[in-house]
Structure formats: structure tokens, C-alpha cells
């Protein structure tokens, strides 16, 4: 399991490759599910120029670790990788990466989704968007499961 908070831009596909290369579980996992969240150029109909991502250092890492451990109790996972950006974020920058490895696809899909939903609803991050009209705090995340 790896949790990484970074103030610098990161390359999610390279992170997945590096983590997988170190896993040494080749032939054991048959399924990996990967989610990448990145910055859009608009929100609620308004153009966004950039964003500040604040977090609660210490709690963030601890909380993400707890989420990943809970996912590992619920599903038989062979690998879990979470990377989250902080600081000044520009359009199209990756913000979050969640990747999981398991023997079968149901566990991979469901645990990846589970981690993302928990991260969205409870990991201590806050976004402040810069629009042409100034800055504003994002009030809440969009709801997750729709089905």
C-alpha cells in the first residue's frame, strides 16, 4: 500500500507503472482498476482559471491510510496506491489517483470506487477556485453513487 501527498504536479500513469513494477505480484493479480481525477476548466457553469488545494497535513495521510486498510479488509487486494495533489493546481492537472490490484475484477472495481467515494466525502482536502470574478471555496463535492 502506498499513499502519497504531493505539492508538485504528478504523472498518474507513471505512478501506476512504478508502483506495479515494485509489487512483484505479476501473475497473481488479474485485474487492476484505476481512477484519475483531473482539473476541469469549468465548474457549475463558470470558467475556472486555477485552484488552490488546502489539506490537513498529518490527518490527510492517516485518513487515506485508514480508507485503504478498510478497503483491504473488505476486498482481497494485492496492491493499493493513492496519490493526491495539493497546492496550486492548473487546468488539466491530475488531482487524484486511486489504483488497486486484485485477482478478480469485481474486487478491483468495487474497492477502487469505495476508496474514491470515501476520499471525496471524508479526506480533509478543500478546493478554492479562481474564476474571472475572484476566488471562491468549493462548497461541497457532487454525490457519488448514482445507481
Amino acid at each position: 500500500m502506498k499513499i502519497r501527498i504531493t505539492e508538485s504536479p504528478f504523472d498518474p500513469l507513471a505512478e501506476v507503472r512504478d508502483y506495479q513494477d515494485e509489487m512483484r505480484q505479476q501473475g497473481k493479480y488479474g485485474a487492476s482498476a484505476i481512477f484519475i481525477g483531473s482539473m476541469r476548466d469549468e465548474n457549475e457553469g463558470e470558467a475556472i482559471l486555477s485552484m488552490e488545494l488546502e489539506h490537513y497535513p498529518g490527518m490527510t495521510e492517516q485518513h487515506l491510510e485508514k480508507i485503504a486498510q478498510e478497503a483491504g479488509r473488505r476486498w482481497p487486494l494485492l496492491g493499493t496506491l493513492i496519490v493526491h495533489r495539493t497546492g496550486t493546481v492548473n487546468i488539466a492537472d491530475p488531482i487524484v489517483l486511486v489504483a488497486v490490484w486484485s485477482a478478480h475484477r469485481a474486487a478491483a472495481f468495487e474497492s477502487c470506487r469505495y476508496i474514491m467515494e470515501d476520499l471525496k466525502s471524508s479526506a480533509p482536502f478543500w478546493k478554492k477556485e479562481t474564476t474571472e470574478g475572484g476566488q471562491r471555496w468549493v462548497e461541497k463535492n457532487t454525490p457519488g453513487y448514482t445507481d
Binding site: G37, Y56, H63, K120, S121, S122, P124, W126, W137
Partner: protein, 84 residues
């Protein structure tokens, strides 16, 4: 207040909009022993109970407002999280 009432120190942190509203990101407060999270909030904004929209943690774990604080605890208050 009684003269023999005991006091404890807790660190309080604020994030995002709350940090801006309070004009500070953290402070150390001296509270009467037995104060809970809701009591600490009322000390910050006199006479107001902790609103539903404010999340609170003690030592980096989410808590309800009736959790009793102890010497050296780190408390945090913040608006709904918006990461990911």
C-alpha cells in the same frame, strides 16, 4: 468559576473558509477540564452550538460534539471536505 477548577491546554486548528473567517490557522486555548467539542465551539463563537455544516476532529479522528477533551488534544474545525 471556582478557584479550584482545573484547566487544560488544547491546540485548535481551522481550515479553509473557517481559517479565513477566524483569521488564524491554529491557536492554543486553555479550557476548564471536562469541556467537550461543542463547549469549545461555544467558547469560540459565544452562545452558538456547533452547526451541522462544520466538521470536527480530535487528534485527527472525526468526532461528535459531545466528545470530552483532554490536556494536549489537537482539535480541528473545518467546512465539508472537497478533495478528489
Amino acid at each position: 468559576m471556582y478557584l479550584n477548577e482545573k484547566y487544560m491546554k488544547v491546540k485548535v486548528k481551522y481550515f479553509a473558509g473557517l481559517r479565513e473567517r477566524f483569521g488564524r490557522d491554529e491557536e492554543v486555548l486553555e479550557l476548564a477540564e471536562g469541556t467537550d467539542v461543542g463547549g469549545l465551539w461555544q467558547r469560540l463563537i459565544t452562545g452558538h452550538t456547533l452547526p451541522d455544516g462544520i466538521m470536527s476532529t480530535v487528534n485527527m479522528e472525526y468526532v461528535q460534539d459531545d466528545v470530552i477533551l483532554h490536556e494536549g488534544d489537537e482539535v480541528a474545525f473545518f467546512p465539508p471536505v472537497t478533495g478528489g
